[in-house]
Subunit: 302 residues, 2 copies
């Protein structure tokens, strides 16, 4: 049987599947990297004395993060772009990725090829070397991504640095993930890199579980409270404020900057991406915290 005639993984087998899915990955490797084909990937020294390595993993699962009806390329894009969004939120840049695939033997090879084309597209878009991965059988389709990255030590931004009086900002608009945004978003890598160079945030994270859940998280680890101006929250078209706060999967940057930097930030912001000042940091226990039960929880009943 020719490879093209093979319709499912069961027909193709593991070795031919890996060859098919990862055939273009060698072109993404940078100098000194060893990719697919050995027990581990090998990377050249990732970072010098003044650089830190970032390390992130994330999985998307069919029926949770995407459906059978979603275009496979967008599913692959999303799987990798989610992790890129996390690197951006630390002020850093991605370097290399490993892709783990879990799939039932009955899964269509052409669908998986589409997903992997989406992964490759994201890798090219963000300069990521695809250095290997793993395939396994699983009744439910999942793609688990492990990503390394780097950030200059002075540009590293944590969630825990927010201080009393800081202004709270968010990029883009919130809500509307269920109408397809969660598959088509662009991680705010350029915006985050600009921020750390021009107006370093005191704290930053990406909004993945909804502002209602993620802002209290940022404040908790910073040991502060917050005041949120509901009217200033940038709501996506055709969404309610509740959807903007609770949908999740916005992949926008949520960050705080000291009040004295605010006017320069707003004046110099060079992106089309919307920038909204949505509140300010208060002392812990003050302000009017939203319930953190409102955002997305993977396990709780709705």
């Amino acid at each position: 049987m020719s490879m093209n005639a093979a319709r499912t993984l069961e027909d193709l087998g593991e070795d031919r599947l890996v060859a098919l899915l990862t055939g273009t990955w060698a072109k993404t490797l940078k100098k000194g990297m060893l990719g697919v084909g050995d027990d581990c990937a090998v990377l050249p020294p990732l970072s010098g004395k003044n650089t830190r390595t970032l390390f992130k993993t994330d999985a998307v699962v069919e029926g949770v993060h995407f459906t059978r009806k979603d275009p496979p390329r967008l599913v692959g894009w999303k799987a990798l772009a989610r992790c890129v969004s996390d690197m951006a939120a630390m002020g850093g840049e991605p370097v290399s990725a490993l892709i783990t695939l879990g799939a039932p033997p009955s899964e269509s090879v052409s669908r998986l090829s589409g997903i992997y084309r989406g992964i490759k597209k994201a890798a090219d878009a963000f300069g990521i070397a695809l250095v290997g991965g793993e395939t396994t059988r699983c009744r439910e389709l999942f793609i688990s991504v492990a990503l390394t990255g780097k950030v200059e030590a002075k540009n590293l931004v944590l969630r825990s640095g927010a201080s009393f009086g800081d202004a709270i900002f968010v990029t883009g608009t919130l809500g509307g993930t269920l109408r397809g945004k969660h598959l088509r978003f662009t991680p705010r890598l350029d915006e985050a890199r600009w921020l750390v160079h021009h107006c370093k945030p005191s704290a930053m994270m990406d909004v993945s579980d909804g502002l209602a859940k993620d802002l209290p998280r940022l404040c908790r680890v910073s040991g502060v409270g917050f005041y949120l101006d509901g009217n200033a929250v940038p709501v996506s078209r055709c969404c309610s404020i509740e959807q903007a706060l609770c949908d999740g999967e916005d992949f926008e940057l949520l960050f705080t900057v000291s009040e004295k930097k605010v006017s320069a930030l707003v004046r110099c912001w060079p992106f089309k991406t919307r920038l909204s000042k949505i509140g300010r940091i208060t002392v812990a226990g003050q302000g009017k915290p939203m319930s953190n039960q409102h955002g997305f929880d993977h396990f709780k009943r709705a």
Copy 2:
């Protein structure tokens, strides 16, 4: 409801689950590391000029790599130890791990706690910092591990270095995985580190899909053939030679060394772990290759 009374993930919710499962991880961190709690883990410079970074991912799935009847601690041990075995096979050592959990909302919290205790035990045994991870809903339980490691550039061993005339060795005994070996194995980290320091192999890999599949893989990327002495294959107790060749999940080291190093290797080998010379490298196309269909394939019909 107190945390102890919670029986399933659905009762507990994601944030409390993460707190419960990763509560002891901070103790595993080394200087300059940032673990659970931000968008990414942060690592100090992983490697200097003469060191290479290793990067590996692997997943275990219920019903494929373990069953509901297996002791949870051993499942966790296996999940991490599999990746350690891959680092050993490159001549290197593990440094830090991220753990991604996929689980149904109905999963028992105490079972997951057991699995994470097994992960922690393996992390302690092999000096691995547990720096973060992710949880997601999935109908089938899986644990996906991403592991970084390091190896001195001069000690890096690839699969592709086997040469004509080299002797082929394997550690331990092969077969018997289905009787529990796959849950209780010790990755051959000490043996591999000794080898790269005292008798550097020309090629090395770990046996994960069975010798019948893995030896042809090593030879294919080395561009060589092999002769296998069936009588010299170390067969686990109560196993047939076929089981030894095809069961998979042995997690033993398969390596080649130049013929002139063989006698010193056998004489100086300081471990109780058995060491067997099982054949030699021939020119490509020579020897009597086993069919590579015999080993374990995740997707093919049995």
